[in-house]
């Protein structure tokens, strides 16, 4: 408890004094406290400040909260380490530091919240501070658009949470987290929670803010937002899901939403050539995977299969942690790449592995972890989820079993596509020849240290997973042995192959020397997949040609545009926004008139009131 308090205080101090050291200290303290806490089975419940009677800031930390706090604090520590150097490029450094501190603090306090009031209070604070952070490079048009979009979506999520908390209050008569236990059916409550947290988590179809907001913000902030902020939404969903009387269809809904998000997330990621946008879509994918775990948990609990339910929950939680680690790692490395190349388009990068070998290695580790390749941590959590799905027969309900099997195959598709996507990302950014003239350099050591810690965590959590997961009762393959043997034999063969090498230019099919224009591009790389999934992308080609002659035989110049459909934007977001604007303009015509009209309103209102009191009262 004291450690937590010290951590919070230090974070607060960091915000006020704009001190980077205090941030680091705070993260360490809280991570330590949460870590200690996780090993002991106890709960802290305390009210630390009362604004007015009935409204108080309270903390309620149990193991679930501690787990998320550990995730947040650990990732924040590494990100802060990275930021020490990274933020020097920005004009208003002090502001960035304090906002970042407020942001981290509000995330931690949201998770630690002891009543719904504090939860929403810090939730909103988190939304507000992250909005400012997204808007940090506000002179860019796209950033402003992104910020606006993000803001409206977070407000929408708050709206649903407000409804949910209000319902909770009316059902239980309490705002205190520990006292909320609900017996009655609460469909609306669940839906409100699902949508509210779904928006923040970036579940399709509420995902659209992620690929806008993440590229727009500074990379350390993207790392925090994508790595941990969306996990706070996962925490919220879990926290309330555990105290509600879950029904089967809730589980199916969560599972379905998760599957769709996972698959569409990665499919959209494949066509994305903005490196940070690509990572943002992968966040959607991974959140989808986490949601699948949660959905399975509900389904297995409903069918009373506690072992599998626990396994799915473990998969969800473990993947939460893992995703926090490797996604922040990827964003941080991508941040350095974007910073030095001054572009986010991966088609303009290439060959960076020579200038920044460490960054490349770290990115590769992150890419392998996120693609679910052994022996990294992403593989272990996906393995748990796969195992849970493989045991679908335990539910003894044919329809549900088939649903689970379909989800299983889609999950497999997702993870394979993710691997394809990261081959593309890594290959285009770091390998082959540079596609544009760049002057780049390797990241400085604090940045590398921050990234390195995350990468180390990815490796350790993967290889040593049997140590802590088998103790919980899961039979995982012996990752330590596999990893060790793998490393050993790779080294062996590498040493074997090292001798007798010669360097020579790549054969250019007879051309004298190879140019970057001959290289495969990111668009080219993903083209076969785009063709196969053309129903989803709905690619459209607009060709316009100009001719020299009337019979249109000699082409003077031509222009081809290639569009992919933005389904959710075109069919969901824009219509709603347009409808709101139409209503608004209709209503606003009320105020476009002269005084006579305004007096006429008074007249009409008076007549209506006269009728109301005279005849109906």
């Amino acid at each position: 408890m004291d450690l937590f308090t010290a951590g919070f205080a230090s974070m607060m101090g960091g915000a006020l004094l704009r001190s980077r050291v205090l941030t680091l200290l705070a993260c360490l303290l809280i991570a330590g406290a949460a870590g200690i806490f996780l090993t002991e089975n106890q709960t802290i419940t305390a009210t630390f400040y009362e604004i007015v009677p009935g409204l108080s800031f309270a903390v309620h930390i149990d193991r679930l909260a501690a787990f998320f706090m550990l995730t947040i604090a650990a990732v924040s520590f590494c990100v802060s380490l990275y930021s020490v150097e990274y933020i020097n490029q920005y004009k208003h450094k002090g502001l960035l530091i304090s906002l970042m501190n407020i942001f981290i603090l509000s995330m931690l306090l949201t998770v630690a919240a002891g009543n719904t009031f504090s939860f929403l209070f810090f939730w909103e604070l988190m939304a507000l501070s992250s909005f400012f952070l997204v808007m940090f490079e506000y002179d860019n048009d796209k950033t402003r658009k992104a910020g606006l979009f993000y803001f409206i979506m977070t407000q929408l999520s708050t709206l649903f949470l407000f409804i949910a908390f209000s319902l909770l209050y009316s059902y239980t008569g309490t705002t205190s987290m520990e006292k909320i236990i609900l017996q009655e059916k609460s469909t609306f409550l669940f839906l409100a929670l699902f949508i509210g947290f779904g928006i923040k988590a970036g579940i399709i179809p509420f995902h659209k803010w992620l690929p806008y907001a993440h590229p727009a913000s500074p990379s350390n902030i993207s790392a925090l937002m994508s790595g941990v902020m969306i996990k706070v939404a996962i925490y919220g969903l879990l926290r309330f899901l555990l105290v509600l009387p879950a029904e089967l269809w809730w589980g199916l809904l969560i599972l379905g939403a998760g599957t769709v998000s996972a698959l569409l997330g990665v499919i959209y990621a494949l066509k994305e050539h903005d490196i940070k946008g690509l990572l943002a879509y992968h966040s959607i994918e991974n959140i989808g995977i986490i949601y699948m775990g949660i959905g399975l948990f509900v389904i297995f609990s409903h069918y009373n299969v506690p072992a599998l339910a626990a396994m799915s929950m473990a998969a969800a939680l473990f993947h939460t942690l893992n995703h926090a680690l490797f996604k922040s790692l990827l964003f941080l490395t991508a941040g350095h790449v974007v910073h030095t190349t001054k572009t986010r388009n991966i088609d303009e990068m290439g060959g960076l592995i020579r200038q920044m070998p460490y960054t490349a290695l770290l990115f590769l580790i992150g890419a392998m972890a996120i693609s679910g390749l052994p022996p990294f941590n992403g593989f272990v959590s996906e393995l748990l989820l796969f195992q849970a799905l493989f045991n679908a027969s335990a539910v003894h309900n044919p329809i549900i079993e088939l649903v689970l099997i379909i989800c299983l195959s889609l999950l497999a598709l997702t993870s394979a596509l993710a691997a394809a996507c990261f081959v593309k990302a890594f290959g285009m950014i770091f390998l082959a020849m540079p596609r544009s003239a760049q002057k780049t350099h390797e990241a400085s050591w604090p940045m590398l240290l921050g990234e390195g810690l995350l990468a180390l965590a990815c490796v350790i959590l993967g290889i040593f997973s049997p140590l802590y997961l088998n103790s919980l009762g899961y039979a995982l393959p012996n990752m330590m042995f596999i990893g060790g043997a793998l490393l050993f034999s790779i080294l062996f063969f590498f040493l074997l192959a090292r001798a007798n090498t010669r360097y020579c230019e790549t054969w250019g099919c007879g051309l004298i020397s190879q140019t970057p224009r001959m290289e495969y591009t990111a668009s080219g790389f993903s083209e076969p997949i785009v063709t196969i999934f053309s129903t989803i992308y709905n690619p459209q080609k607009h060709v316009s040609k100009e001719f020299f002659d009337k019979s249109q035989t000699l082409v003077r110049e031509g222009h081809v545009e290639f569009h992919l459909m933005r389904f959710f934007e075109e069919y969901l977001y824009m219509p709603i926004a347009n409808a709101a604007m139409v209503i608004a303009s209709r209503i606003d015509t009320l105020h476009q008139k002269d005084m006579g009209a305004y007096i006429a309103y008074v007249f009409i209102a008076a007549v209506i009131l006269l009728l109301w009191v005279g005849w109906f009262a």
């Binding site: 195959s409 394809a420 081959v423 390998l431 063969f493 192959a497 290289e519």
Partner: protein, 301 residues
């Protein structure tokens, strides 16, 4: 002990199967074909040659081949080749193959050659589309045999005798084998510098020892997938105990079974034409359908 033997046999026998398929195809074309030990000769020759690396390439290129070979050797732990022994989580096996593929695709991109990029792109596309099929096939296996361990699966088949469902699954497994080993109609292993190739394009920039390792890894992969297919379809002959007789019998049985499958693969390849890349999902859908059908039977039965 058995596990080590499994690895050893898999590594040693793989080039033979590779060449045997070529031989069968040659026979089908009324040619004489290469000598049966051609695979080994090529391997030895490549080991002696110098490695030529592109100036554009990075350490990815140098590490890709060792990683590939190492992964395949580790993956051999998971499959009962000669006998049953060791652990064999089927998903870990699958993801080890994915790991190898990941690096192979990266190596394809590393040199900056157009062919390599094209190969990687196609390889990753195909592997993405085949992945749900593979998983569903494995899920069907797990469903039917009640375990996720490949060694236990073989044991279960040995104990319970062949089942109708397994035949269906085997057909799917065969399709996976074709896809994963880059054979007609998915890929054409015979061509070089053709726009139809996938796997060969990716390893185009490899040379010397690296190429030897890559080829060997590919051959081992084929052997492992054959082993998987056999342990499900016809596990008889696998050594269940570490006696010399059992082991020798196991090795013999494996060679015979492997040659049979190779023969069949050769015939299959000869009777097919290379299919268009974008028609491949149809083939995969077929495998998906078989396995789904199996599960359907299991679920409703």
């Amino acid at each position: 002990m058995i596990a080590l033997l499994n690895i050893l046999v898999a590594v040693l026998i793989s080039p033979l199967f590779m060449t045997f398929i070529k031989k069968v195809k040659a026979w089908a074309q009324r040619r004489q074909g290469p000598p049966l030990l051609q695979g080994y000769y090529t391997f030895m020759k490549l080991l002696k040659k110098e490695t030529v690396l592109s100036t554009n390439s990075s350490w990815i290129m140098r590490w890709a081949a060792p990683i590939n070979l190492a992964v395949m050797i580790i993956a051999a732990l998971f499959i009962p080749i000669v006998g049953i022994g060791g652990s064999g989580n089927i998903l870990l096996f699958l993801y080890l193959l994915a790991l190898a593929k990941f690096f192979m695709a990266l190596a394809g991109l590393d040199a900056g050659s157009t062919f390599g990029g094209m190969g990687s792109s196609r390889e990753m596309t195909i592997s993405a589309v085949i992945e749900p099929v593979t998983v569903i096939v494995f899920a069907a296996l797990a469903y039917v045999l009640g375990t996720m361990d490949i060694h236990r699966m073989a044991l279960a088949v040995l104990a319970n005798g062949p089942q109708a469902a397994l035949v269906l699954i085997s057909m799917s497994l065969f399709i996976i084998l074709i896809v994963e080993t880059a054979r007609v109609p998915v890929d054409n292993p015979e061509t070089h510098l053709e726009l139809t190739m996938v796997h060969e394009a990716m390893i185009l920039e490899q040379s010397g020892k690296n190429l030897a390792f890559m080829e060997l890894a590919h051959a081992i992969k084929q052997t492992l997938l054959m082993g998987l297919l056999m342990s499900v379809l016809f596990p008889y002959g696998l050594a269940t105990e570490t006696t010399l007789v059992a082991l020798v019998f196991g090795i013999g049985a494996f060679i015979v079974k492997g040659l049979c499958i190779s023969f069949f693969v050769g015939l299959f390849e000869s009777s097919m034409a290379k299919s268009r890349l974008f028609l491949l999902p149809n083939l995969f859908m077929l495998a998906y359908f078989f396995s789904f059908l199996t599960i359907l039977f299991e679920v409703f039965a």
